[in-house]
Amino acid sequence: MSSPVEALVNREYKYGFVTDIEQETAPIGLSEETVRFISARKREPEWLLEWRLKAYRRWLEMTHEPHWANIHHEPIDYQAISYFAAPRTQKPLGSLDDVDPKLLETYAKLGIPLSEQKLLAGVAVDAIFDSVSVGTTFKATLAKSGVFFCSFGEAVQEHPDLVQRYLGSVVPASDNYFAALNAAVFSDGSFVYIPKGVRCPMELSTYFRINAANTGQFERTLIIADEGSYVSYLEGCTAPKRDENQLHAAVVELVALDNATIKYSTVQNWYAGDENGVGGIYNFVTKRGKAMRGAKISWTQVETGSAITWKYPSVILQGDDSVGEFYSVAVVNGWQQADTGTKMIHLGRNTKSTVVSKGISAGRGQNSYRGQVKILPKASGARNYTQCDSMLIGNRCGAHTFPYIDVQNSSSKVEHEASTSKIGEDQIFFCKQRGMNTENAISVIVNGFCKEVFRELPMEFAVEAQKLLGVSLEGSVG
């Protein structure tokens, strides 16, 4: 009998289809002209164009990508991509009835029906297709509670004050190479504003889809939770199977004002490349939130896709008594590489952060946890608890942990726990002896391993995440 732990990656990626739709794309390459093209195409005000151009010039000065991550790839040719792609038939943003049926069909195929009747009750969706939003559901319902949920492009037109006030306030354009690139060329994304004291009446969600070839997706999301408000937000992402690597460099900024709560969940399932490591999305994402007095920001991510994942959803605990959380499951299989983790920056007194990271490596995947906990001198009574567990499936994958702990206040308390385990043949055999087949056994073991993270996801998505995990690891054990 052959060993059950024999990595032969043979997974089905059921989102790998292409929608045949006429596209308007920006000419290939990146220059000041490209930035002006995008800004003009989106009818942006002068200040925003200036902001983009400043970012672009800053990006030019940066000359190279961050090199500290534990990832390896061929150099990215930034002049070989188109920075804007939109379905040509797109009408001025209006009713969902105006959306091209081909696009509605695409989202239906992805399991995201955009017709409000068919949607999961209680979840509003903004659908981003390449560089533009093709529709946002339940806008009218949400508006009754004073909640703004729309595409970033619309927000620029309809809520310019809020955008101007908060854009770049958490992730400045100069923050890092990819954030600067995003600031220069970002196209669409979602915008959320929850007014003071309002508990958002439904889950908000954005579904990102890359379709066009030779393009990158550079969306920007801004969520503002005003004092004492609450919002739960989820994003999902998929892309077609293509032989070339496609770049996704997004920025997400969260602003939680006094006593507000933002819960941000991600189920990332970009195309990961084929069994030889050809193709797949390069996912370089900057996500950060700022928590004011008594506010709470909670990131939950399930990262199963992308050829390369580089992201560190972070929290700046600026206000006293603010809370930051990061719950992560990152799966690599095949030739995938993930370098992901978080930064918890404690500025305020009695601030609290929790980090729970579960890394699963299979096939020839390389999985790195990189986390920073920084307690600044004024953060008296600050606390951090970090738990970082890695699981290996097979013997050709890798798990790496890079914790950075910087404590400058003696009254604070920081805990770090880490473990690495190999999914044992004995564990699998035990489950099989009790009647389960191999896939079933792995699913039971892995879901148990990820339980602390899954229970943080909204109910509907926890089920989806568990299924996704099953698909991602399919064939990882022969």
Binding site: M1, S2, S3, P4, G424, E425, D426, Q427, F429, F430, C431, K432, Q433, R434, G435, M436, N437, N440, V444, I445, N447, G448, F449, C450, K451, E452
Partner: protein, 274 residues
């Protein structure tokens, strides 16, 4: 009538080493067999080979279980056919509750047999009933499978799993080792409660002690990968008096009664056999 389990001339290797060198054994429904033997005699290997552990390679011989060619079946197919192995070293599965694990296993077996899966509420009723066998309260079901369990609790958990899955043939691999007297009594009670005319049990053990609680129909002594002597329950007592040296002739005066030092204090006095 066809035997429930028929092993003929079984040879098996671990790596290059031949561990089983021609084991033959017949177990009929309704019987309890004890397989005894010194350390390294191949007792645990026999149990693992029956369950289909991938670390062992069968090189010769046949095993027929309830009419199936057992050696041709995947481990889970053996379970579906009614074979259960109580592990000597039960593994831990962090984050998976006992209740979820047992229900998944129970339903996997039902599904394989073409039966409807039991919904969580009905399964809970079944569980409650079986928990009594091992004298446990319902709180154990919310704990992760064997995670943080003591050695005795792990063994008790094996018996609980057996009680839920109701196998036709249960193979208990040194379930008695490392148990204090109370745990031993509970394990024995569990095994005895499952005795039925249509089921059988194979107890693999080093010590005679367990056989005071579970009286076997047949006792076999394994040595050097072969069964060197078989007899009735009195064979266990004879072994107790004379030691394995009597049959193995190796000069290792390995005791059949003296329990390991770790539980010596609680293991005596051993009650007399009924």
């Amino acid at each position: 009538m066809m035997a429930l389990l028929e092993i003929v001339d079984l040879h098996a290797n671990a790596g290059d080493a031949e561990i089983l060198r021609g084991v033959s054994l017949t177990v009929d429904a309704g019987e309890v067999h004890a397989i005894m033997g010194p350390n390294g005699s191949g007792k645990s290997t026999l149990a693992q080979v029956l369950a289909g552990h991938p670390a062992y390679r069968v090189t010769r011989g046949t095993v027929t279980f309830a009419g199936h060619d057992l050696l041709d079946m995947e481990p889970e197919e053996r379970a579906h056919a009614g074979l259960f192995l109580a592990f000597q070293y039960p593994v831990e599965i962090p984050g998976v509750t006992n209740a979820y694990f047992l229900r998944t296993a129970y339903n996997a077996i039902r599904k394989a047999r073409g039966l409807d899966e039991l919904d969580p509420m009905d399964f809970l009723d079944l569980l409650e009933d079986r928990l009594r066998v091992v004298e446990w309260g319902p709180e154990i079901m919310e704990r992760a499978v064997n995670a943080g369990f003591s050695g005795g609790e792990k063994k008790r958990n094996e018996i609980l799993q057996m009680a839920v899955l109701e196998p036709t043939l249960a193979v208990l691999d040194e379930t008695d080792s490392g148990l204090d007297i109370d745990a031993l009594r509970i394990v024995a009670k569990g095994v005895n409660a499952l005795r039925r005319p249509d089921r059988a049990t194979v107890l693999v053990t080093h010590y005679q002690r367990l056989l005071n609680y579970i009286v076997p129909d047949r006792v076999h002594v394994l040595s050097g990968g072969r069964i060197v002597k078989s007899g009735g329950k009195e064979l266990a007592h004879e072994l107790e008096e004379r030691g394995y040296e009597w049959l193995t002739g190796t000069g290792d005066a390995e005791s059949v009664t003296a329990p390991a030092a770790s539980y010596a204090a609680t293991a005596s006095p051993v009650p007399a056999a009924p």
